[in-house]
Symmetry: C2
Subunit: 334 residues, 2 copies
Amino acid sequence: MNYINSGPKKAAITGLGAYVPKHRLTNADLEKMVDTNDEWIFARTGIKERRILKGQHKPTSFMAIKAAKKLLRKKNIAPRRIDMVIVATITPDMNVAATAAQVATEIGAVNAFAYDIQAACSGFLYGMSTASSMISSGRYKKVLLIGADKMSSIVDYDDRATCIIFGDGAGAALFEASDSDYGWEDEYFRSNGSGRKYLNIKAGGSLLPASEVTVENKMHFLYQDGKTVFKSAVSEMCNAAEKIIKRNKIDTNKIAYLVPHQANKRIIDAVAKRINLPSQKVMNNIEKYGNTTAATLPLLLNDYEKKLSPGDKLIFAAFGGGFTWGAAYLTWSY
Amino acid sequence: MNYINSGPKKAAITGLGAYVPKHRLTNADLEKMVDTNDEWIFARTGIKERRILKGQHKPTSFMAIKAAKKLLRKKNIAPRRIDMVIVATITPDMNVAATAAQVATEIGAVNAFAYDIQAACSGFLYGMSTASSMISSGRYKKVLLIGADKMSSIVDYDDRATCIIFGDGAGAALFEASDSDYGWEDEYFRSNGSGRKYLNIKAGGSLLPASEVTVENKMHFLYQDGKTVFKSAVSEMCNAAEKIIKRNKIDTNKIAYLVPHQANKRIIDAVAKRINLPSQKVMNNIEKYGNTTAATLPLLLNDYEKKLSPGDKLIFAAFGGGFTWGAAYLTWSY
């Protein structure tokens, strides 16, 4: 590792892979499960259906492995050349043993080290910064970042406030040193721990370990105070995106796409409006996947991959549990 | 962020802070709880007592905040100058909301972003690499890394194989660009997901969500196949440490200290023997704290801080759940 003697390198995303389970949970299905309806769900969230990972003993890594393998195949990269595997997730397979270690081994990345990042819906955004810095510092050549969540493992399908929103999925991005001038440009990230009372899982951590009482009281499911999270998300995603655009002197007309975390179509619209972007410049696939937490950003990039060209200016924005949030600026490299 | 135009910087640890709870769980106490005795525990593990965080509603962040505040006071740094807070832990306060976000807010780090890293006993080691790369890439100036675990929240005090080993604690380290030639020099990290069957918590993740059955069957407690973990830890920590020493051409006589994860005194002794280090050059405090998982390395550095001088060559080595492991080389900066 001679990073002291080599110049700092800009990191770029050089490949993508994604996986969503086959099973579709539609609004019509949800109508039969809780007191809700398609019109209400779509008007409030923009969601038509979500993918659900069915079958016992299929944890988050099941999807992360598939997404990573697709990327390696597409790029024709031998897994032993991967230096590091990061999995951003709030639904790790198990506690203690990092999901990333399982993924690295299952894809054959025998020379990689691996860890999980936990920052909820900002996990992939923060992971992009981390992967980029590992490349920019000159320390590693190929960093595989995966955002993956099996939200169906923490969603209470009797709670109509959350069960209509979340879905399962995984997306992977490869980070390498850029051989052009394009890549990771800037980031503005913040957190506020006082937001954790509005978005959390009450039990199962060191604050309230699992017990008969916590299971009985359904305290291992995701809780969200939707109104507060909605308001905070709009405000902070807008502020962060504006900050990034302003300090990098980006002409809004020159932005190729806003890449917003897919929590709610109305949040996405509010952010786009605030930075004056027409809807065709806003990546959007919430209709078919819902909120897949750490997987939303790579699932978007994967869906729009063929529309992207070298030099395209992308503005990322995310907000999630913690609270954690931020925006970033990346120029597309391929 | 002008990291493209600035040279890469070596990152250094520039400050430390630590916290352990007051309550001591001694071998004599454990004799009354499970079928064991002081002589057996000490001979097998080198542990005399552990610290336990007593009191309801005191999660891991309680200790992490105290460790971070001590560091800020010692260094006389305004918390608003911290750019990033990383918490390495396997016992987060809650799921979804990162413990690091809570810590950042509670210490007043209003300009920081925050996330958790999960790599079990290698969490702090991997966090050091991450914090260093965030500094080396030129992206941030002050990164606060905290290793903290409330192991008593996941230990079954009826299981004599694990309850004698683990303790609670937290340690914090500040990373800044080095103003000397000293700092983070090299790292060799690896992972192997097939090790997760030997060291894990079976339930509470996406593989096996919490239920009446998982609570009844005590599946939310730490499980360890001690023999397999012991053998793998000795072998991999030795290999990684040797690799680092060899490729950096370090004369063993010039090593100031080995800084080994404190899982078991016999593992530590085996690693020291393999790289030919006398015991006075091996940092060791397992006798008083046991295995505090992500907190062992910063607790060691904090205990030995006054003995360290600029330029001291330190070799870190760790092994833990995942499996994850590695070694690193750092020259002390103050």
